[in-house]
Assembly symmetry: C3
Homo-oligomer: 337 residues x 3
């Protein structure tokens, strides 16, 4: 793409050589003369002055002498748009690989791409233009909307419902049995795990993450929510829209998470917790069962507290030796009279 084409695409103001050719994107430190990059924030803009990049996306109102730049409202967002234009996702050729095993009652459109060693069971429905890569398993009655990407080795248990433009990375398991038992007569009796999983549009789920089905109800993941690798979502969990869950976090049964919540990595959330819209939970925090986290609150620690409170307590904790020393001195003074 020529620089002027990128400027048009991102609706930006071009300064410099509009005919210069760009064939790739790169980060600010590594971009070469045929590459596009972006700079946001004071430090990045300073670094940008020395960049070799063929073109730099910068914020409105900023100038960068001696460089071909495009001024845009939101450089990082413009960079994403340009990267997508320069690297359109390769569409797998439509068709069904001869090694795939499809039930005659499954519905698979001609526009879908079904890879080697895929299994699709009875009454499953695959949306238009879906890509099911090698070794994917789709259970009985699963419904998948259009334009989904299922990477190699994704397993979807029977009955799950998946929306449009959903991305499931390699090794993801959707719809496994919830973990619920009743101990009686000297052994664990398995509670029925008959519920389902609903995943709405534009959800992305990272490698080897597991999402259990509801026991009697439904496990639900709202539109636009993004989940990282190796996360555990238990039965009957309900997650709202546009939330973010980082790697290795675990969410216990029947917990409800609102919209636009941000949860760090390795967080542990007990059962029947309610996390309201916009809350932020710091990495490795632990939230006790049944807790309610209010709208927009920021928490950290185990058991989790408001971040400011945690920081304050932690500062006192760090000064414990001083406090103990002070008490010792007071004690001496008093006994000395």
């Amino acid at each position: 793409m020529r620089v002027y084409e990128i400027a048009q695409l991102v609706d930006g103001e071009l300064y410099g050589d509009g005919n210069h050719e760009i064939c790739n994107v790169a980060d600010l430190g590594n971009a070469s003369s045929s590459e596009l990059t972006f700079a946001e924030g004071e430090r990045a803009l300073q670094q940008a002055a020395a960049s070799q990049a063929g073109c730099i996306l910068i914020p409105e109102g900023v100038s960068l002498r001696g460089h071909t730049v495009i001024r845009v409202k939101h450089p990082k967002l413009a960079f994403i748009a340009a990267a997508n234009a320069l690297h359109p996702s390769k569409l797998a050729a439509p068709g069904i690989h001869p090694t795939a095993v499809l039930s005659p009652t499954a519905s698979v459109p001609a526009s879908a791409s079904i890879g080697p060693h895929v299994t699709i069971e009875d009454h499953a429905t695959i949306g238009e233009r879906c890509i099911l890569a090698a070794g994917v398993f789709i259970g009985v009655g699963v419904e998948i909307g259009p334009d989904c990407m299922l990477y190699p080795g994704v397993r979807v248990y029977p009955g799950a419902q998946i929306g449009s433009r959903v991305t499931l990375h390699a090794g993801v398991v959707i719809g496994g049995d919830g973990f619920g038992y009743v101990f009686a007569e000297g052994r664990h009796h398995k509670f029925p795990q008959l519920g389902k999983v609903i995943i709405e549009d534009d959800v992305e789920i990272g490698c080897n993450t597991t999402v259990d089905r509801g026991s009697l109800g439904t496990t639900f993941i709202g539109s636009g929510t993004k989940i990282d690798n190796l996360v555990q979502i238990a039965h009957n969990v309900r997650i709202g829209r546009h939330s973010i869950i980082a790697a290795q976090t675990g969410i216990s049964g029947s917990t409800a998470i609102g919209d636009c919540v941000v949860i760090g990595g390795q967080v542990g959330i007990g059962d029947h917790v309610r996390i309201e819209d916009g809350a932020v939970i710091g990495s490795q925090a632990g939230i006790l069962p049944g807790k309610v986290i209010r709208k927009g609150n920021v928490l950290w620690g185990t058991p989790a507290r408001p971040l400011s409170e945690f920081k304050k307590l932690y500062a006192y904790f760090s000064h414990l030796p001083d406090l103990a020393q002070k008490v010792k001195e007071l004690s001496r003074k008093i006994s000395e009279g």
Copy 2:
């Protein structure tokens, strides 16, 4: 099923319309007139008064006017029995899918169901009525007892021994190499990982959980133990009977866990730990290598302590600012004379 049939099945006392037809189970809040539910505990029984359920399982000695009910000793257990009767697990049709690859020396009974793209290596033995779903891998010499369910993509390394009625969920790996190295001559030398894995009867293991083989000895999981998703069980770990291990917990090498132990989620247990029967470890706790946790003890925190002690310390921790303030005042009083 008619209500009177359910009453017979659970050996309960029926009050109301025995001929009413029930076709499903549901939780108390959502059960409709064709569904069975249960109510246990004061709060649930209050909620039950307004339930639309076609039939409610309630404890002996309780009455619930205007509802068709069955009185039983243990409503939740009776509910499980009724749910199993209403939703018998669908048995996959026996037979070997033509895409499965079986060694001629593997032993697979006619009653087993072997799905698409399954691989069974030399000298492996599969029990009667086992179901190996799509993409399962069974290594050389593996022995699996009758009535096991292996969900899609389960991988069992060579030599593992699995009992009867074991359930392994999608993505489970049994028998991977333990993590042991000797650092010498500037690099890590791998310690031999030649041991095996024994999994006894009625064990259930959740999605993407990993159980390593013994290095020289055996990794052992006793009858009736239930393990959640994404758990790590290291080499030479020994787990007793009827224990419960929640999601994302990790158990290091050579640790021994007794019977009926309950371990929360994201717990980390060091190597050579001994956890005696009936102990309970709270979520996210960390147990140092070599520790012994006595019978029935309840622990929490990192490093883990008896729960009551942890709670007490934590309360003091929470009041650190007050304590510091008090010391400041004392100090002022003393210096003021």
Copy 3:
């Protein structure tokens, strides 16, 4: 093998019956008269006196009457060498299983062993004597060096580069998309994940571990580094040579880890952290984003501190009730005058 052959192999000094036959290895407590074991350290050597082992590897300068022993510089290392000689890894027969699906543009040498249901996409290159077990997926353009072992169900996304003698255990995913989004216009826009993964020689990665590709740059794992099960390595992470990472640890984006670093289990490391050579991070520790851990430092806790400092603070924490009691007494003394 005869004992004298083992002595030759490990370059040790033989005492006892050189013609005695050894057919297996075992740990000190379980070794029988046809088995080899080793003893290092005072306690093990005491235990060795009562061992039934057919031969014991012991340190130089030690004697053990009444036993056939081989004295060596490093008994555990010698034990590894002997175990490898007694149990040579079974080489899968070279060849391509008829159910494997290989692109005509993939390069697969005759010496490689390609198992059932494997998929190898366009322009991928497999090294000499590699073993790709059942169900492995190799994406477009992946390069794998000689003598690698990929266990069942390993998935390698397009473009990854893997060195020589690399072992990837079952369920490992290499090259998944990094977790990066820009929130704007009410939704998350995915940041480009166009980078690659480079894994150097002699790396071993445990079951179900995930290694993301770089977003614009490269995720890099240096020679000889060993990674346990269920670990998460995010985009653009750089790990040096001969480092050790235990199970369920998570490393966030753009973090750099040096050579010979040891990281315990369930550690969480924020983004843009730098951990210098030889540092040791205790299990379950949490390292805040952007931190620098100096060469050889040993850390523990969340947020992580030098171990000695953590231990000291933790001791004060444990004595908080005493401190509070002391303050109460002082307060009483002062108010009493």
